[in-house]
Symmetry: D2
Subunit: 377 residues, 4 copies
C-alpha cells in the first residue's frame, strides 16, 4: 500500500503550533506523509520553513497547486493550517482544482465565504474534512453512533461546554502571539471565544446528536478590559426537535485547561463525555452507571469505529490519534475513490458542518448585541 | 449543657421523608432533641404519628404554640417540614409568637407570602433559618469564606446546576407521592423543577458569591407529556456586579441522582464543588489543581467553619451532618441570645435569602412565558 | 416504639474522640439514646464527664452494671469506648452479667483475652457487636452479599489496604495524645499500625469474602526513629481456599487520610471499594465498568441491606451512618430477642471476628520478627 | 535536519501488535522514519511483510546489519520487536556491529544473556534504550526528577502494581496468539506475569526512586488451571536504603485493563501516578492534594522534561507519545554523538535496568519456589 502524499498550506511559522500537530497526525499511521508545503505567508519564509521540515517548498499555495495540476508534484490531499482569515482562499482553490482538503476550523472567516466554499464542495464532490479534532475521539464517535441507533431514545436536552483559563488576563498586551491574533477582529472575525472554542461545543451538541439548531439566545462577555471581542460565550438554543441546548464556552476560567465535553439527556438514558478524559464514555440507563473505555479489542464498538482503533484496552489514544482519525477519514475517502479496498470512512464533519458553525457564531453574536433576543439560524 | 427542645410541624406522614431527616439532624449532636410535634394535617393523624415517634403530640401547630406560650410545653425552636404550600402559616405563627423557626425550603408558596414572612422576621429579630441543606456542607461554607476574603478575586462568572433524573418518566401517573405533589400546581406553586431544585442552584450562585441577581432570561421545559409545570429549568442571569450566572436544573437527566454543584470563576482563581462529593473543594489558582478535604484537624479551616466539624480528616461528613449544621446554627443563635458561651453561628440562609429565591423563580417563570425576555428581580 | 437505653463505658476524656462519635451513632436514628455512663477511668472524672454529657454518671463500670442488675437503672446495651487495654474487663463483665455489648476494636489487648471473651460470648449468646465501623457501610455490605451469592465466582485474590500519613513524623514526642497511646506498647499491645488499622484491612479481606486466613508472611517497619512498635505493616496471606491476600497498612503515607479499601478478584468478576468514597461500589464483570451507588430507593439492594438505608440516592450516608448501622444491628438483635418485629440484623463482625483479628496481628508480628517466615493462624 | 533512519527487527507478523506500535512511535515526530526491516523469522515472511510496509526488506537481521556495515543501507538505529526469546541474538549482533538499539522488554530470555548483553553495551558505549514504554510518560519522568532533587525527602516505602484481567480465563486453549506465547515457558522464560508486567512495576519502584532492590520474598500463583507459569505475582522487597517495596502484578483481575501505577512515600511527601490516567501526577506534601497535569506550557517542568512535550496543557499525550519519547531519547543520543545540537536525553532505562529486571524476576521465581524465602538480587 502506497503512502498518501500530503501538502501543508500554512502552519510553518515560528510561534505556529498547529502545523506540527498536523504533521504528527499525518505521520502517525505510517500510511501518509507530508511531502510538500507552502508553509508561510511570505514566499521566502515559506521556502525556508519547507527546508527546515525537509519537504518540497513552494513560495505560495497557488504555485503548489499548479505544480500538482501540471504533474510536477504528486499529491493526494492538502491540509490547511493558516490563520482563520486565510482558510477560505486556499481551500476554494484546492477544491476548484480537484484536490481534497482537510481544513482547520473555523472553516472560513465569514458566513458568506463558508457558503461559497460549502457550495463548491457540494458541487464538486471533492472530499473535504473539517479539523474538529475532538470528533476523532472514538468515544465521541461512539456517542454519535449510540444516539443514531436509538440507545438513549429521543434527545431532550444537551449541555456542551468548553472551559479554558488562558485568556483570564490581558495576555495579548504582552505580545503573546496566540492571544494576539485571537483577540484581533481583523484576524479572528466577529467572535473570539465563540469562534475559537464555542464552535467545538456547538459541534458536540449538533454533530453528536444529529440535530440542528433552530434559534439561539446568547450572552457574550468581554471580561478582560480592553477587549473588543468576547472571552466568554453563553448560548441557550432550541434544537430542531424542540429540545434545548445549553452551549457555553469561556477563556477566563482560571486553571481550566481544555475542559470540553457534553452531557446528552434522552428519553431512555444519558451520555456524558469529557475531552480531558477522552478514553471514557459514561452511559446512564438505569440504576447504575456504565463506563466504557477505549480499546481495539472491545466488542461493543461497531465496525464503523473499531477500524479506527490502534491499540487494545488500557492504553489511551488521545489528541494526536484523534486528529489522526480525521486524516484517516480523508485517507479512506481518497482510497475508496481510487477503488482501493478500505473500511468505510466515518461521517466526520465537513463543509456543511463548518457552515453551520459559522452561522451559529454569527447568530449568537447578533443575539448578544440585541441583549439576548432570539435569532434564527 | 441542657439539650435544646425542638418541636416538629409536619413531616410525619406515611410517605413523608423529610420529617425523619430533620429528626436525625436534630439528634446527631446529642445537644438537641425533638420533644413535641404536630406532625400531620389531620388532628388524629397528628396524635398518632407523635405516639409512634414517642413524643408529645398536638392536634395542630397552633395548639402546640399555645401550649408553649402558656408554659405547658418547653420549646426552643420549631422545625417546619410541611408541604410547600403549608410553610407560610405555621412559620408566621411561630415568628409572631416569638418561637425561632428552622423552615424547609422553599420558604413559602408565593412571593407575597415570602415578603410578609421576611418582614415579620426582620421586625421581630426572632431567629429564622432556611433549610438549604447543602449550605451546611463545610466545603460550601469554605467556598463562601474564601470568596468573601478575596481568595479568587472579583467574581466574573458562576455556573450552578442541579441535575436529577427521577422525573424523566410520568411517575405521577402511577401515583408516586413525591412526584404527585411536586407536579401539582396547587401544592407546589408556579414551578416544579425551578422551585424544588433550581433554588438550590440559585443559592449556590448567590449565597456562595455574596452577589445578588439583577435580572434573568429563562427557558423552562415540560418534557414529559401531560405536565403543566416545568421539569427542566434554564436561566441566564446577570449578577449585581455585572457578571454572568448560568443556572440550570433538570429532573429528566436519567441516571443522575442529586448532581448539584457550582463552578465559580474569579479574576484570581476558580472554585468547583459538587454535592455528591461534598467532602472536596477544588481550587485552581495557578499551574496545578489544589484539592481540599473535610477534616476537623485541618488548619486551613477558619474558626467560623472549624467549629462545625465533627471528625478528623478521612471520614466524610455528609447529608445528615450538613443539615445538622443548620440546626447547629439555630442552636448557636438561641444559646447566644440566652447568654451561653458558644461559637458564633455561620451566616446560613434565612428569610431574606428565601424571599430572593422566590423572586428568582417567579422572574424565571415570567421570562420563560415571554420566550426568554429579560425580567428584573 | 420505645427508645433503647444505652450505657457508655469510657470515651469521655478531654482528648477523647470516639466517645462522641458513638454518641452520635447511637442518636442518629431517634430510636436509641445514651442514658448512663462510666466515662473515664477515675471515679471523679467519670462523674464530671457524665454531668457534662447530661447523663446518669457512675464512678466505674462495675457499679453501673450492678445498678442495672439491681433494677436501679434501665439499660439495653453498653458501648465500650475505653483505650484498647481496657476493653477486656468491662466487656467480660457485661457479657457475664447478660448485658449486650457493642465494643470498640480491637476486641482486647491480647489473643488470650480475646479467646476468653469470645468463649464467654459464645456460651452466653449475649449479643456482641464489634465496632468495625466500615463494615456498616452499605456498599461494603453489598460486596459481602454479592460474593456470598456467587456474583463474582470463586475468590482468587484480595488486596486490602489502609494508608494514613498522620504518624509520618514523631508526633508522640510533642505529646499528641492519640499518637502517644498508640505508639506505647503498654497501652496498645504488640502492634501499633497493624492493630489500629491493619485489622480494618484484615476484616475487609476476610469478612467481605467470607474466607479465613490460613497463614501469613509479614514485614513490619518502624520508619520514624524512636518507635518500638510498627508504623508500617505488610502482609502476604494465604486464604483458606488457597487464594492470596495482600494486606497492607501504613501510617507514614504523608497526605493520605483514611485511604482504606479493597479489590477482590474472583473467577467471574472483580469488586473494588474505597472508604473515602464509600458511596460507590465498582463492579467489573465484562467489557465495561459498573458503578453502583448508595440509595434507599435502588432495587438492587437485597432486603438485608435496604432496611439499613436512610435516604434516597444522591445523598451519601457516611461515617456516622455506618457506625449507626452497627448500632442498628445491635438494636435489631435486642428487639428480636424481646419478640418485637424488626428486620433481621446483618452479619456484622462480632467476638469471633475480633479474635481472628487478634490472631492475625499476633501472627504477623511473629512472622516479621522471624524475617517473614510463614506463621499459621 | 535529516530524519533518522530506523530498521525494524521482528514485529511484522500477522497477529503481531507491537511492531506497528513502534512504527507509529518512530514516525510521530516527523524526525525519524522506518526504512528497512527483517520483520519475521522466515526469510520469505520477512520480505513479504517489508513489501507490505513499503520498506526495504531483508531475509534476516544479520543480512540487514551486513548491508549497513557495507554501506549499502543507511541506518541510525534498530528496533528489536521480536518475541522475548529472540531479543538477545539480534541485540547483541547490533551492538557488536556498532548499531544503536532500542529493544523491547524484557531485555533477554535469561539473566545470563542479559549479563552478556549489558556488558557488551557497557564496553562498546553504543546507545541502548530499553522499551519500558511507561517511563516515557512525562509525569513519570517528573516523579523521578522530583525524587532526585529531594522534593519528598527520603524514600520509605513504594507500592507499584500492574493489574490486568485478560488472562483470567484459559485463553491460550482457544489459540489466542498473545496468550499462547506468554504462557509457554519455551517462549516466555521462567515467568509469565512477572516477566511481562511485573517488570513494569519493578521499574516503577526502582527507576523512579533511583533505589535498587536488595532482596525479595515472593508468592507467585497460577490461578487458571493448566498453567505452568504464574498469572499472578506478588513480591515484598527490601530497597537498598532499607525501605520496603510492595510489587504486585496480576493477569486475573477481571475488568482491569492496564491498571499500572505507583505510590511512593517519602519523609516529606508522597507521589502517586497511574498509567491509565497518565496525564496526572498526584503530589501530597501537606494538608491538601496537589495535582499536576501534562502540558508543554507549564513552567514546573524542568528543561530535562519540557523538551519532550508536544502540546500545551489540556491535550493529553499518551501511549504512543510515551513510546515516542523513548525513541526521542535514542534520537538525542545519536544526534549528540554526531555533534548535532539537541537537548540532553533523559536517563531512560537501558541495559543495566534490563539486567536488574531479569535478576528481579529470577529472584522472585526462586523465592516463590522456596515458599517465600528471601532471595538476594
Amino acid at each position: 500500500m502506497q503512502k498518501l502524499k500530503v501538502a501543508m498550506i500554512g502552519g510553518g511559522g515560528e510561534g505556529a503550533f498547529f502545523g506540527k500537530v498536523h504533521l504528527r497526525a499525518v505521520c502517525i499511521d505510517g500510511t501518509r506523509e507530508v511531502v510538500a508545503g507552502a508553509l508561510r505567508s511570505s514566499a521566502q519564509g515559506s521556502m525556508d520553513a519547507a527546508a527546515q521540515w525537509g519537504i518540497q517548498g513552494y513560495p505560495d499555495y497557488q504555485s503548489m497547486i499548479d505544480a500538482w495540476k501540471n504533474g510536477d508534484l504528486q499529491l493526494d490531499y492538502a491540509v490547511i493550517a493558516t490563520p482563520n482569515h486565510a482558510h477560505f482562499a486556499p481551500a476554494l482553490a484546492c477544491i476548484k482544482a480537484g484536490l481534497p482538503v482537510l481544513c482547520e476550523k473555523p472553516i472560513t472567516l465569514t458566513v458568506d465565504e463558508a457558503e461559497i466554499l460549502a457550495e463548491a464542495v457540494q458541487a464538486s464532490q471533492v472530499p473535504f474534512v473539517l479539523a474538529h479534532t475532538y470528533t476523532g475521539h472514538p468515544m465521541m464517535m461512539l456517542a454519535k453512533e449510540m444516539i443514531r441507533r436509538g440507545d438513549i431514545g429521543e434527545i431532550r436536552k444537551v449541555e456542551a461546554w468548553y472551559n479554558q483559563g488562558w485568556l483570564a488576563t490581558d495576555l495579548e498586551a504582552d505580545g503573546q502571539q496566540q492571544a494576539a491574533w485571537r483577540t484581533d477582529p481583523s484576524k479572528t472575525g466577529i467572535s473570539n471565544c465563540g469562534g475559537d472554542i464555542g464552535t467545538h461545543a456547538f459541534i458536540a451538541a449538533t454533530w453528536v446528536t444529529g440535530l440542528g439548531l433552530k434559534r439561539v439566545s446568547a450572552r457574550l462577555n468581554a471580561f478582560v478590559e480592553g477587549r473588543s471581542l468576547d472571552d466568554d460565550f453563553n448560548v441557550i438554543g432550541e434544537l430542531e426537535n424542540g429540545g434545548t441546548a445549553i452551549i457555553t464556552a469561556t477563556q477566563i476560567a482560571i486553571g481550566y485547561r481544555n475542559d470540553s465535553g457534553f452531557r446528552i439527556y434522552g428519553s431512555k438514558g444519558s451520555l456524558e463525555w469529557q475531552q480531558e478524559e477522552s478514553e471514557k464514555l459514561l452511559v446512564k440507563r438505569g440504576e447504575h452507571d456504565e463506563t466504557y473505555f477505549i480499546g481495539a479489542n472491545f466488542t461493543f464498538f461497531p465496525d464503523s469505529i473499531a477500524s479506527y482503533l490502534r491499540v487494545p484496552a488500557g492504553h489511551n489514544e488521545d489528541f494526536f490519534e484523534a486528529l489522526g482519525n480525521l486524516h484517516c477519514t480523508m485517507e479512506r475517502h481518497i482510497r475508496i475513490r481510487r477503488g482501493e479496498t478500505c473500511p468505510a470512512p466515518f461521517e466526520h464533519p465537513g463543509a456543511k458542518e463548518g457552515l453551520a458553525g459559522m452561522q451559529f457564531v454569527k447568530a449568537a453574536v447578533e443575539s448578544s448585541a440585541r441583549d439576548g433576543a432570539w435569532v434564527s439560524l
